[in-house]
């Protein structure tokens, strides 16, 4: 078959609709499953005195731990604001995604078991990253067998990405007068969060109800930014090309801030923006929701 294209100026609108529909179609079943799964597992002793406080263990995620602790501090602030008692298990390290995504399942299995053993005492596990939460909910059960598989499934049912937890479980609200202005924001849907967890409306809803944000959607916000874990270092040219496309669409939205829920993607985008001299502030959603604009954006100088 031979195709030729007749591209009209309405293309952008069509694309946008197209993306929205794909997202709506794909996100719906996922969200239904999530709701079913989101029943907390309260131990007997906790139920009487639970008094609506959520017992949450924070999975900081290794990237936030190393490169941007402000994400974790702001996550804690948001969770506490939502009425959670937040515990940070001090022996946590990495969920094992790097090895898993390069196919080294053998190296990943002990990390998965370690993670489960560290976190399974929690009522809820919350991570400020869709791909890390997805690793636990979707991929641990894939690579673990027998009793560990069961434990993985059990933990998966109680594990959430931050914006998902804040909006679907904790139902965080904030009085209008306490909402701070975060300027114009465009939101990039990171792939794992979007497709594995159905995260799409949650961050936008929170931006609109916890802050004063001027949300400007970019075209094809569901297309990958080119990070892909080790992909970005193994195939840098292809990865950069994808990042540039994403930045172009973000800029075209007119927003001054590009936000997202996965630090890997954001570092990729911020780093590429710097390299290309593109002026856009790249921030994690937790920072915006907590109103923390004092922390320099990703890749910005921390010395005035």
């Amino acid at each position: 078959m031979y195709w030729s294209f007749d591209l009209t100026p309405t293309q952008g609108v069509v694309d946008h609709l197209a993306a929205t529909v794909i997202l709506a179609l794909s996100a719906t079943p996922l969200r239904l499953v999530q709701q079913k799964d989101s029943q907390p597992r309260m131990s007997e002793s906790q139920q009487p005195q639970a008094s609506q406080r959520f017992q949450v263990h924070l999975f900081v995620t290794c990237l936030a731990d190393l490169f941007r602790p402000s994400i974790a501090f702001n996550s804690i602030a948001l969770l506490e604001e939502a009425g959670c008692d937040v515990t940070v298990p001090m022996s946590q390290t990495c969920c094992g995604q790097p090895g898993y995504n390069t196919g080294d399942y053998e190296a990943t299995v002990p990390l998965a078991k370690q993670f489960i053993a560290t976190f399974e005492g929690a009522d809820y596990v919350v991570a400020p990253s869709g791909s890390c939460a997805g690793m636990i909910t979707h991929h641990y059960p894939r690579i673990l067998e027998g009793q560990w598989h069961e434990r993985a499934l059990d933990l998966a049912a109680r594990t959430f990405e931050l914006t998902q937890f804040l909006s679907e479980v904790a139902g965080l609200k904030r009085p209008i007068e306490q909402r701070s202005d975060v300027g114009s924001v465009t939101y990039h849907d990171s792939c794992a969060g979007l497709r594995e967890l159905g995260i799409q409306t949650q961050p936008r809803h929170l931006l609109n109800t916890l802050c004063r944000a001027d949300l400007k959607e970019m075209e094809r916000t569901d297309v990958c930014c080119g990070f892909g874990g080790t992909f970005c270092a193994k195939m840098p040219e292809l990865s950069a090309n994808m990042a540039s496309d994403k930045l172009e669409m973000a800029q075209a939205s007119g927003a001054t801030t590009l936000a997202g829920g996965d630090l890997g993607c954001l570092m990729n985008l911020a780093g590429r923006a710097k390299r290309e001299g593109i002026e856009i502030e790249v921030r994690h959603i937790a920072e915006l929701l907590a109103g923390d604009l004092a922390t320099p954006a990703i890749g910005e100088s921390s010395q005035s």
Partner: protein, 472 residues
């Protein structure tokens, strides 16, 4: 199957530099998903249809030992001859021997990925036969001596001007303008018409084989398949055994799914069922018809953890939605199968040794699996192939060792926090003024194309521990 898949990275870098072709691909990457989305939306319960067809196909695959003989018997009863080819070479030999038995000189071919896979054209041409591809895209690349860059739109990479040049050069029709695509299509049409009328043998593929009645199904948008199948005296249908479906209505359901996923059409322009040779009072049709059913490792795939891949209906949606395919272009994959489906299929049909770079040519973004009408979990299969790669130590040793090291250190929280703390504080001191690094010795893959954002002053774990100590 000749492949150059392990040169994917170098080939993709070249493709990224071809500005005009890259632009065309990016338009494709916007345009085709929009068409598909609209079609899916208009259909309504696409999800239900998808699941239904996947279940039927799974059932057929699980019971191939029942349906394949059933198809064979029905097809024979309809007057067809049915042959099985274990390998590509066997298919090529079978087809050649049928052609030679009839002293054929010219073959008119419809679009067929199976014969691309076996490189049938070369085989027939080496034996002195003339083979004419009649699908417009296939015809263009055949004239240009190129390979397909997209399983559905094989000539997608060729800009209009190149096609014009090609036609002016290859068609001895004197000086003319060929000012626009319709003029070029018109010319190809009239040239091809002569070939249809003079061909001795027609070869087509099949989108489905129907067990209950022994028919095959073919969808095209140009009608060339029907001309190949009906004008020459001999028809050979080359396809693979996993195309078998139990009932005629399953084939109809498949078409609904396939055309919407491919081009966003609710139905293809030509949807044909072939039963067999011309019957007594038929006014046209071939005198003799053959099915050649290729295995080429598909039995092995069926018995493996990759059997979901046999559900692929070659719709091309995963290519159109894949940002890596859009960037790299089809030729970078070094295989007749490209994009996500090609990165799974090529290693399975050839060997992982020859193509282990392909499964890594993916960010596992999952957009392909989201749109795949056959519900194939492509990112999971690609990751599993990386697992095979990792176990057979085919990939870069440096990556393998660093992943092992990372996993080992991550299992020792104290050591992990000590090392990351040291590293982060050093990087912070070095990078805080600029905010990032344009070069880092251990992250050259990263810094080749982007700056590396400098970390904040210390790891979270250290800061949190300190804070907790102060609070007490």
């Amino acid at each position: 199957m000749t492949i150059s898949s392990n040169d994917f990275i170098a080939q993709s870098v070249v493709a990224l530099q071809e500005a005009e072709r890259l632009r065309t691909r990016k338009e494709l990457g916007k345009h085709m998903p929009a068409l598909r989305t609209r079609a899916v939306e208009e259909f309504g319960d696409f999800e239900g249809l998808r699941e239904h067809v996947a279940n039927v196909r799974q059932h057929a695959l699980d019971n191939l030992d029942y349906y394949l003989p059933q198809f064979e018997q029905q097809a024979i009863d309809n007057g067809n001859q049915v042959h099985y080819a274990r390998t590509g070479a066997e298919l090529n030999d079978l087809v050649l021997s049928i052609c030679q038995r009839h002293n054929a000189r010219k073959i008119a071919k419809g679009k067929s990925m199976v014969t691309e896979e076996t490189e049938l054209n070369h085989h027939l041409e080496r034996a002195g036969l003339e083979v004419v591809e009649t699908d417009l895209g296939e015809y263009i690349i055949q004239q240009a001596g190129e390979t397909p860059s997209h399983i559905v739109g094989p000539a997608l990479h060729k800009p209009e001007a190149e096609i014009r040049e090609l036609f002016l050069d290859k068609h001895p029709l004197g000086p003319r303008e060929l000012e626009d695509p319709p003029a070029m299509v018109e010319e190809a049409r009239s040239v091809l018409r002569e070939h249809f009328l003079s061909a001795d043998v027609g070869i087509v593929g099949a989108n489905a084989l129907i067990a209950e009645n022994g028919y095959s199904l073919l969808v095209t948008n140009e009608g060339n398949g029907d001309l190949c199948a009906n004008l020459p005296n001999i028809l050979i249908v080359c396809t693979t055994m996993e195309r078998v479906l139990p009932r005629a209505r399953d084939a109809a359901a498949l078409v609904r799914l396939l055309t919407r996923s491919t081009t966003g059409q609710s139905i293809s322009c030509y949807t044909s069922y072939y039963s067999g040779p011309r019957r007594q009072d038929d006014i046209d049709g071939p005198l003799e018809t053959h099915y050649v059913l290729l295995d080429n490792k598909r039995s092995d795939i069926l018995a493996s953890d990759y059997k979901d891949m046999l559900q692929c209906m070659r719709c091309g949606a995963c290519l159109n939605h894949c940002p890596v395919y859009i960037g790299a272009g089809g030729h970078a994959y070094g295989s007749v199968y490209q994009g996500p489906m090609g990165s799974v299929l090529t290693p399975l049909l050839s060997s992982l040794e020859e193509s282990h770079t392909l499964p890594s040519a993916c960010t596992t973004c999952g957009r392909c699996a989201e749109v795949c009408p056959a519900n194939i979990p492509l990112p999971d299969l690609l990751r599993d192939l990386r697992h095979d790669e990792s176990r057979s130590k085919l990939g870069s040793g440096r990556w393998r060792v660093s992943m092992k090291l990372h996993a080992w250190v991550s299992q020792h929280p104290r050591l992990y926090q000590l090392l990351t703390g040291l590293g982060v504080r050093t990087l912070h001191r070095m990078g805080r003024r600029r905010g990032g690094f344009s070069r880092l010795p251990f992250a050259s893959g990263w810094t080749q194309e982007r700056d590396f954002p400098a970390p904040q002053k210390d790891t979270f774990m250290h800061q949190y521990r300190k804070q907790a100590a102060q609070d007490e």
